[in-house]
Symmetry: C2
Subunit: 740 residues, 2 copies
């Protein structure tokens, strides 16, 4: 239950399993491709990535208009450091079903190590035992450590590479992956000596330089000859041994955003790491993960399959999430090239609510990242024509808007409120005043100003027109419920906080106002807009309305359109989809999940039923939301069904595109279904609320929450009252509604 | 008053005057650039074009979705046949302000000839008299005829070209001209002998081949030596003479859509034309134009400036409009490269209402063109996901949708109703049953079927959601008044006509129904949708509403935004514009103009006032509509003001982009202001209605209308009752409301 394993070597769905066996540490990520190579590579994406490193690619439009991005960010595949060429008696070893037997691969969530072993039979019938181990260190963020052990009664040739001749994956026909611009980095320098290889590449469009180096230690060095070759694009080291080869390899990867990328630095670091040694590095990895699991594990009782899946999700989230304030969590993490490595609202609405519960330091760094990009968000608002406020980009790496279709991109203004939600959530759980009064208010005030600039008063209500909500199957609507509710939440919470500050710390408020040019009139405007926010409702149906015009849309012909036409976005022109009552993903229901007090329970129940019937879940961000909400509403059967759909998206490749990377928002969202759904956790600055129940398909669950410094352990076992244990001698304001 | 003239040579605004001095015949068009060349050519666009010839260029999108065009049409600049190199004593003659004196240029609307004369002084002080004449023949559609006469006391060198090395004009920053794809044709063959030059190019993306050839006759042939050079991209003929050179040149241009483009054919045609001779060709040109003006002239009494401008407009429209059923009238005619040579609704809503009054044969050919592209329109509807009907492209040449931004392109479904309007208008004026029951009904039925497929019943009304009206400053709206009113007009007129046919010619209806698979149920559906069409109105204001949500938009800050920010589309992101009550052009007011019975007079007056205050007229299609409508509503001062704005758009270059070509819709629209505005003409199958008045700024006007075969002359002189004279022995149902 602490491992992802496979015991059969299959050539099919290679790409899917590359994503699943991804290793990373939030800075560096490498897909789980087979280093030795495979005979067929059509579905394979042999990629490694650095979080936050971006290329700039030109944006083309059939018709360009003002404010359309000139360029977009794109995450480049970095140089290839993992591939090896293994030859046994001169015969190249590819992983294929003919030659490979006794195969097994295992990614261990406790040790943070990826292991593979197999027997290879050559064409002459001789057998080799091949074992490899690999880890990307959580404690040494630039390090990938490898171990190879090959036993073969004959000549072993083994070549390692630092290869700059790489290209990104493109697919002209799928808007969810890149549609062009494969070649993003170019080689600037190679250096090789027998001790240490070095390769420098540059992301030509952004000027960011990436350096990598490698050094080996050999157990049987005396029996091994090594030759180094240098080419235009890389350096290659060829080892020859007889009977056995045992090799440790230290690969160091860095980039010029924060460090000197010279050969000297890389070589120095490699020697430092080599001196530290394999043993110490593996131990540090284990210790790091022990601490992580101690807090963040979600235990599932009586369902091993699920337990393993949830830990896989938690582990993959940890591996992909940026932790340095200059990187974030892209839609696919560091596990693939889908969505071009862009950061979306996925972070604040899916990942951060989970991470903030037990890993507040990581949550904080994700928000620091947004603060670092506040100047770009302000510039974007001005560029569009807004005189005040900040408009965060719908998709980005470096801070610039990288959406190529504004009605389903830039128009998703809710990103501003999503980031605000993340800030508030982080503060509610940590009480981190220093962050809030500094970076937090910088962002809350600027994004609130943007709402004031966008909104409009109609018949005494504050309306937000011509925006797109989370459901991209409608666009440019008036008063999207989710957007308005989230904007209201931000405006009212900010107003309330500033009022409290005026009493509690007037001097601090004065300093803040002076820094931000914030006036009392502006604060009133925030409060008034929040108080009078238009939240569209349909009185006859008793539901919250996705937008003003939702009821005027035609019914979607669900009867006639089979699921073979899902996702609809790959089969129908947007104009057809937009004209109908059909949802790609949770929208109003998501607002109900994020803001439990926005409507009464009956309205939420009716809304759930109404929208559920209209939702295709074409987005991977949908089922976990419906699952969590179903769990909160007591729809136990549906909750489990959606939950398992969500759990299976990557492990079962149910959306068919896991090869492009893991669905990070869903990965976090499925864990949240347990915590916010089954356990019914709600968070506010006043404390925690729980309303737990245990699905029939398990015996119970246990997880922890760090509330304002106190660790709270929550255990729900079927048939027993929920057990809440606070950290030694501490108490936490807590309200539990029994829901068994 | 029958000429466009210029008496001063100016290097500035070269491009504007190239557009104004365009010559053409509807098949072939050439901008009025200076053949000799100018020292500065930054604003110059040295282009010739064939109507209907298209290239295909790939369409790129930041994010591509289903149904987005893969390719777009684009009108290629054809081979250069007009440029000459003139050398006097070896000195190259460029038209520039230093060397040129006694300059004059004249485009004659009666003879159809462009003439230019000037004196050129060489650097040594010697003077040359240069005269040139040029015409594109209306009676020989492939012919451009030139005459050059140069008198100079020294050596004259004169080189003519057929040059395939041409590129289209591109401007990255203006969405109204092409943003890429300059190189569209490539040279396939050159042939040269002293008798006849020949050049063959191919539009590589569409495979259409274009051939041109030229032949000269010399008055003083014995004193002239000629040398021919052939290069990779063209053929060049160099003449040397002393003291004087007199030369006639026949240029033949054709393309492979309808003709053999071999050298043999071109040579044969050139010889035929040479045998016909200059005199006969000029005479035929004059006779053609005499007939044209006899019917189509609009006489203005007491305002020579206006008279000249109106004739310029009528003449340029004639020069650009396609007459062969395989070409149409592009937004800029044959006078420039703006909007990539695409055909829009401009044809049916602006040009055809004018042309149908006196040139029904041309009007018919424009509709035949649409019929020829009906299969593409049906395919487009299917490609988007509609199970029935035809969706005409918003912009096209060959029939494929060439819009690069669907919310302001493809979503303008009203194009269907606009074409239907054109068919009905043509039929009302001609009674051409043969056309209507054939091609006409093919189009009316298929476009009506599309409305049924798009529309939706809400509370007993037929609603058309998520479309864009003529005003592109809002997009994807529900129940756009113009769209719904025009669709209603089409559906009800068609129903009515089919009912009449059932009585009058049941056999004919049977044949039609069988051909089109048209059922009684479908006919009822047309009638029911038309009868119950939702036409949004604001009761409290007493106006027709541009769309359902128009009143929920924020007021545009007209006070703060100066006219230096016009057109808004070049200064604000669409999301900002869409969110406000601001119009690019007439929308509801246009519906009132096209359908005078759609609302009562008071509603139209209030609507005019309401929308006028919100309209920037950033589109050149706006002022003529407001002018005509103002004239109909008795707003005499405003009518004149808009009318003159419309008249001046190109002659005064008031939109600043006449260099990209003449604004053809406005050119027709300004003429319509006199006929439909000042004279208040309305047309139906029952007859004509007039409600004439004469603006203070003129003494009167006179024009003709051909109603079902009878020519009606209408004369309005200030202070006199309007005079209506019908063709010999004929009568026309006519209703005149005195309005002086």
């Amino acid at each position: 239950m602490w491992q992802l394993t496979e015991d059969v070597f299959l050539l099919e769905t290679l790409g899917v399993r590359e994503s699943l066996f991804t290793i990373g540490n939030g800075y560096l990520g490498m897909r789980g491709y087979h280093d030795e190579g495979t005979p067929i590579e059509t579905s394979s994406v042999r990629g490694s990535y650095i979080n936050g490193v971006y290329a700039r690619v030109p944006m083309h439009f059939g018709e360009r208009a003002v404010g359309f991005p000139e360029q977009a960010d794109k995450q480049p595949r970095i140089m290839e450091t993992q591939s090896v060429e293994l030859r046994l008696d001169g015969e190249r070893v590819f992983l294929d079903t003919a030659g490979v037997s006794d195969y097994s691969r295992m990614l261990d969530f406790k040790t943070g190590i990826l292991k593979k072993t197999y027997t290879y039979t050559t064409s002459t019938g001789k057998k080799a035992l091949v074992e490899s181990m690999k880890m990307i260190s959580f404690t040494e963020s630039n390090l990938c450590l490898q171990h190879w052990s090959i036993a073969f009664p004959g000549e072993i040739e083994f070549m390692t590479v630092l290869d700059g001749n790489v290209q990104n994956y493109v697919n002209e026909n799928d808007p969810r992956v890149a549609q062009g611009h494969a070649k993003l980095i170019e080689t600037k320098a190679c250096r090789s000596d027998l001790d240490c290889l070095y390769l420098l590449s540059e992301v030509s469009s952004s000027g960011i330089q990436i350096a990598c180096g490698s050094v080996e230690t050999l157990s049987n060095a005396k029996q091994v000859r090594a030759v180094v070759t240098e080419t235009e694009h890389g350096v290659f080291k060829n080892f020859k041994a007889v009977n056995s080869l045992e090799l440790d390899r230290y690969v160091y990867v860095t980039d010029s955003r924060f460090e000197d990328v010279s050969a000297a630095v890389v070589s120095r670091e490699l020697h430092r790491l080599k001196t530290l040694g394999v043993e110490a590095l593996l131990q540090a990895q284990g210790e790091y993960l022990e601490k992580f699991w101690e807090r963040s594990d979600i235990e599932i009782f009586g369902n091993n399959h699920l337990q393993q899946a949830i830990r896989f999700n938690l582990f993959q989230l940890l591996q992909s999430v940026g932790k340095d304030g200059f990187s974030n969590l892209s839609a696919k993490g560091l596990s693939g090239e889908g969505y071009e490595g862009h950061y979306f609202w996925d972070t604040e609405i899916y990942a951060l609510p989970l991470l903030s519960l037990t890993q507040p330091e990581i949550a904080k760094q994700l928000l620091v990242f947004r603060w670092n990009q506040l100047p770009e968000a302000i510039a974007e608002a001005r560029g569009m024509g807004h005189e005040q406020g900040a408009k965060y980009p719908w998709r980005t790496i470096s801070g610039i808007e990288s959406s190529g279709f504004f009605p389903a991109g830039t128009a998703q203004y809710h990103i501003n409120a999503d980031i605000a939600y993340g800030i508030i959530r982080y503060y509610q759980l940590t009480g981190d005043e220093k962050f809030l009064r500094g970076m937090g208010l910088d962002m809350l005030v600027e994004t609130s100003r943007f709402w004031i600039s966008v909104g409009q008063w109609v018949a005494g209500e504050f309306c937000i027109n011509c925006v797109t909500g989370p459901d991209e199957y409608t666009a440019l609507v008036n008063n999207n419920f989710y957007t308005n509710a989230m904007a209201q939440h931000q405006l009212l919470w900010l107003s309330e906080y500033l009022k409290k500050l005026a009493h509690k710390a007037p001097k601090s408020l004065e300093t803040i106002c002076s820094r931000l040019g914030l006036t009392q009139v502006e604060m009133w405007a925030f409060e008034r807009a929040g108080t009078c926010m238009n939240l569209p409702r349909d009185k006859s149906l008793g539901i919250d309305l996705q937008d003003d015009q939702f009821m005027n849309r035609a019914p979607w012909p669900f009867e006639q359109v089979g699921k073979d036409k899902y996702p609809l976005l790959l089969h129908y022109h947007p104009l057809i989809i937009y004209r109908h009552q059909v949802l790609k993903q949770a929208d109003t229901v998501l607002a109900h999940l994020m803001l439990p007090n926005i409507s009464d329970l009956e309205t939420m129940k009716r809304s759930f039923d109404y929208y559920e019937a209209l939702t295709t879940h074409d987005s991977s961000l949908s089922s976990c939301v419906y699952g969590t909400m179903a769990a909160r509403l007591g729809e136990k059967k549906k909750a489990w069904q959606y939950f398992m759909e969500s759990v299976e998206i990557d492990l079962g490749n149910t959306h068919g595109n896991t090869k492009d990377g893991l669905h990070m928002a869903n990965i976090a969202g499925s864990c949240l279904t347990i915590i916010q759904g089954f356990a019914g956790l709600s968070v506010s600055e006043e404390g925690l609320e729980l309303s737990p129940w245990v699905p029939d398909e398990m015996d119970g669950y246990k997880f922890k929450v760090l509330w304002q410094g106190t660790l709270v352990t929550i255990t729900a076992i079927k048939g027993q009252p929920v057990q809440v244990v606070c950290g030694l001698g501490k108490e936490v304001p807590l309200h539990v509604t029994e829901n068994q």
